[in-house]
C-alpha cells in the first residue's frame, strides 16, 4: 500500500478555513456550544498560568485547539449516554455541567469531590452526576475495553444507550485498543470511538506511531465503519458523529470516527513543543476551532461581533471567579490519606 504524504498538513478534501452548519440551529444552541468552547479555552489559559506560578504542582495538561470535537460530540448525546475523556475533553465536561471552579480546585489538589485531592485534575469521573465515566490512564487505550463493558451492560439490559470513548491517536497503538474493539465488534456493542488525531502523541508524530495514513484505516480489522473528518469544525463534528452515534444506538455495533485536529499547546505545560515546526503551528492557527466558530457567529451566524465578545468576556470572568473560589478551598486532611480503599 502506498503511503500518502499530504502536500500540506491536512488532506485538502477535509481542509477549510470557514465553517457553516448544514442543519438548522437556534441562537441558543450556537451560543451554548461557543460558550462551552470559550470557557474551556479560558480555563486552559488560566491553568497554564497557575502552573507557571507554581500553584499547580506536578504537571498540567491542556486541551487547546481540540475544543470543537468533544463539544460537538457531547452535544449529540442523551443524558443517559456515557463518555470518558481526560482533560483533553475539558469542554465536554463543561457541556455536561461540570463547573470550572471544581476543575480548577482539582488541579490545585483541593478537597473537592469526587477525588478529594487524590487524583490529578487531568482525570475526572462522576457517573452519577454527569454521566462521565472513569478513565484509566495507566495504560493508554484501556478505556476501549472498559468502554466496551459499559456498552455490554447497556446491551444486557436492552437499553438503547451509547458509550463514547474519546481517545488520542497515540492510544490506538497499544494492544488494549485492539482487544477492546475486537470484543465490542463481535458483540455489536454500542461503543463509539472518537479519535482526536492531534498530530502528536507527546513528541512523536503520527507517521512514527503508525504505518497507515489514518487511524481509521485500522477499522477494517474489526469490520466496523469508520470515517475521517475535520475536527476543528464543530458543525462537521456534529454531522459525522451523529452518524456514528445513531449507528451504535440502533444496535449495529461500534463505529470509529477520526477527527483531524492539532494540539496547540504542549503535551503538558512542561513541554515547549520544540519538535513542532513553525509552519505546522501556523497552518493550524489559521484553523483554530474557536476562531472558525467565532468568525461564523460574527458573520453568517448572525450573532454579531459584540455578542461574541460579550461571551468571551463573560467566560474570562467566570474563570477568574472560579480561581478565587478554588484557591479558597481547603486541602484534604492528611488524616484521610488511607480512606476509601474499599467500600465501608
Amino acid at each position: 500500500m502506498q503511503k500518502l504524504k499530504p502536500a500540506r498538513f491536512l488532506d485538502p478534501a477535509l481542509d477549510r478555513t470557514s465553517i457553516a452548519p448544514n442543519e438548522t440551529l437556534s441562537h441558543d444552541q450556537l451560543i451554548t456550544w461557543y460558550r462551552t468552547m470559550r470557557l474551556a479555552r479560558a480555563c486552559d489559559k488560566k491553568l497554564g498560568a497557575l502552573y507557571r506560578q507554581g500553584k499547580i504542582v506536578g504537571a498540567v495538561y491542556l486541551a487547546t485547539g481540540q475544543e470543537a470535537i468533544c463539544t460537538g460530540v457531547v452535544s449529540l448525546l442523551e443524558r443517559n449516554d456515557y463518555f470518558s475523556t481526560v482533560a483533553r475533553g475539558l469542554a465536554g465536561w463543561f457541556l455536561r455541567g461540570v463547573e470550572p471552579r471544581h476543575v480548577i480546585a482539582r488541579w490545585l489538589g483541593r478537597d473537592v469531590p469526587p477525588s478529594h485531592g487524590r487524583e490529578l485534575g487531568l482525570f475526572f469521573a462522576d457517573i452519577e452526576h454527569y454521566g462521565i465515566a472513569p478513565y484509566h490512564n495507566g495504560s493508554m487505550a484501556s478505556w476501549i475495553p472498559s468502554g466496551a463493558g459499559f456498552a455490554l451492560a447497556f446491551k444486557i439490559r436492552k437499553q438503547p444507550r451509547v458509550y463514547v470513548a474519546f481517545t488520542g491517536d497515540g492510544a490506538t497503538s497499544p494492544g488494549d485498543f485492539y482487544e477492546g474493539l475486537n470484543f465490542a465488534a463481535i458483540h455489536k456493542l454500542a461503543l463509539v470511538v472518537i479519535v482526536e488525531n492531534n498530530c502528536f502523541a507527546y513528541s512523536t508524530s503520527t507517521d512514527k506511531q503508525m504505518p497507515v495514513e489514518n487511524v481509521a484505516d485500522r477499522a477494517p480489522a474489526f469490520n466496523i465503519p469508520s470515517e475521517v473528518a475535520f475536527g476543528n469544525d464543530i458543525f462537521e463534528v456534529r454531522r459525522v458523529a451523529k452518524r456514528a452515534i445513531d449507528h451504535a444506538r440502533a444496535g449495529n455495533g461500534p463505529y470509529l470516527v477520526e477527527f483531524k485536529t492539532f494540539r496547540a499547546s504542549g503535551h503538558g505545560e512542561h513541554d515547549d513543543m520544540g519538535y513542532v515546526d513553525a509552519d505546522l503551528r501556523e497552518f493550524w492557527e489559521q484553523r483554530d476551532p474557536l476562531r472558525l466558530f467565532a468568525e461564523y457567529l460574527d458573520g453568517p451566524g448572525g450573532l454579531g461581533e459584540t455578542a461574541v465578545k460579550a461571551i468571551d468576556d463573560e467566560c474570562t470572568q467566570v474563570i477568574e471567579d472560579a480561581v478565587v473560589w478554588a484557591e479558597a478551598q481547603p486541602e484534604a486532611s492528611p488524616d484521610t490519606v488511607g480512606d476509601r480503599l474499599f467500600a465501608p
Partner: protein, 324 residues
C-alpha cells in the same frame, strides 16, 4: 449430606448467585459452550443463556476491561481467566484501573476475577502460577483462595457480593481431589477471616490453598510423635487476618509460614515480618518460611516435587523449631 467437590462447589456458588441476582454474569474464554477449560462453568450457558455466560476472544484485557466497565454500571461480573498465569496479560487494567478506582473517584468496581492457580499437576512454567504476591502489593484489591469445598462455595458467594474487586484463586489440584459436605441452603464465608483447621499447642503453621492439606498431612504424622501442630488456613490473603495468626502465635510461640508460590518476596515474607513486628515477645524462635524454590515452575514430576514444599520439609522444619 452429599459430598461435593471443590470445583462443583464453585459452580454451585456461582450459579446460585446468578439465579438470585440478575446483575451477576460470567465472562471468559471457552466458558459457555465448552463449560470452561476445567468445566467450572459447565451447564451455565444452558441455564442462563449467552448474554449471561459470555464467551470471549483470547483477550484478557478485554475480558477484565469489559467486566470493569459493566461493574461501574452495577453489574456483578465474574470473569474467568483460563489459567491464572494469564493474569499477567491484564495486570495493568486490574491493578491500575479496577484496584485504584474507588480511591481515585469513589467509584467501586464489584468485580470477581477467578481462575485456576497452583501446581502439582505438571502444568509447567505457564500453567502453574501462584500470583498472590503481585496482588498483595496492590492496595484496593482483595485476594481469596479456598482450600475446602465448603469454603470455595461460601467464599465465591461472598466475593460476588463484595463491592470491591476480588481476585479469586482456585487451586487446580483441589478441583476434584477435595470434597466436603456442602449445604444446599444459602451461606457465605466472610472475606477477611482465617480459620484454625487443626488446633495444637506446639507449632503454628500459617498457610492456605493446597498447602493446607500438605500441612495437615504433616500435622497427622507429627501427632504420632506427640507434636501438636496448629494449622491456620488463611482463606483470604488480602486483607490478612492478623488477629487469628497472632493469637495462635501467642499460644504456640513458634511459627512456620508455608506457601506454594516462590519464596522471595512471597506472602510468607510479609506475614513473617508482621509476626516479628507485632508478636516478637511471643516468639521462642525465628519465624520459618517454607515455600517453593525461586525458579519458574518446572514441568516434570520429579522436578516439580523438588520445587514445591513437601510434607518431609514441613516435618523437618517443625523438628528444628521444637528443638530450638
Amino acid at each position: 449430606m452429599a459430598k461435593t467437590t471443590y470445583l462443583e462447589a464453585i459452580r454451585q456458588g456461582l450459579a446460585e448467585e446468578m439465579a438470585s441476582d440478575d446483575r451477576v454474569y460470567a465472562i471468559g474464554e471457552d466458558i459457555g459452550l465448552y463449560g470452561g477449560a476445567f468445566k467450572v462453568t459447565e451447564g451455565l450457558l444452558n441455564r442462563f443463556g449467552a448474554e449471561r455466560v459470555i464467551d470471549t476472544p483470547v483477550s484478557e484485557t478485554a475480558i477484565i476491561g469489559a467486566a470493569i466497565g459493566s461493574a461501574y454500571l452495577g453489574m456483578r461480573p465474574v470473569a474467568e481467566l483460563q489459567f491464572i498465569d494469564f493474569v499477567a496479560c491484564c495486570f495493568n487494567i486490574l491493578t491500575n484501573f479496577a484496584a485504584k478506582s474507588r480511591y481515585r473517584w469513589g467509584a467501586g468496581v464489584p468485580l470477581v476475577v477467578r481462575g485456576p492457580c497452583g501446581g502439582g499437576v505438571s502444568g509447567g512454567p505457564f500453567h502453574s502460577a501462584n500470583p498472590e504476591a503481585h496482588f498483595l502489593h496492590t492496595p484496593g484489591l482483595k485476594i481469596v483462595e479456598p482450600s475446602t469445598a465448603y469454603d470455595a462455595k461460601g467464599l465465591i458467594k461472598a466475593a460476588i457480593r463484595d463491592d470491591d474487586p476480588v481476585l479469586f484463586l482456585e487451586h487446580k489440584l483441589l478441583y476434584r481431589r477435595v470434597q466436603d459436605e456442602v449445604p444446599e441452603e444459602d451461606y457465605v464465608v466472610p472475606l477477611g477471616q482465617a480459620v484454625v483447621r487443626r488446633p495444637g499447642d506446639d507449632v503454628t503453621i500459617v498457610t492456605f490453598g493446597a498447602m493446607t492439606h500438605t500441612a495437615l498431612d504433616a500435622a497427622n504424622q507429627l501427632a504420632e510423635r506427640d507434636v501438636a501442630i496448629e494449622v491456620i488456613d488463611l482463606r483470604t490473603l488480602s486483607p490478612l487476618d492478623y488477629e487469628t495468626i497472632l493469637q495462635s502465635v501467642a499460644k504456640t510461640n513458634k511459627v512456620i509460614v508455608l506457601h506454594e508460590a516462590q519464596r522471595t518476596g512471597g506472602i510468607g515474607a510479609e506475614i513473617a515480618a508482621a509476626i516479628a513486628e507485632r508478636g516478637f515477645e511471643h516468639l521462642d524462635a525465628p519465624p520459618v518460611r517454607l515455600a517453593s524454590l525461586d525458579t519458574p515452575v518446572p514441568y516434570s514430576p520429579a522436578l516439580e516435587a523438588a520445587f514445591r514444599p513437601s510434607v518431609e520439609q514441613i516435618v523437618a522444619a517443625v523438628e528444628h523449631l521444637v528443638e530450638y
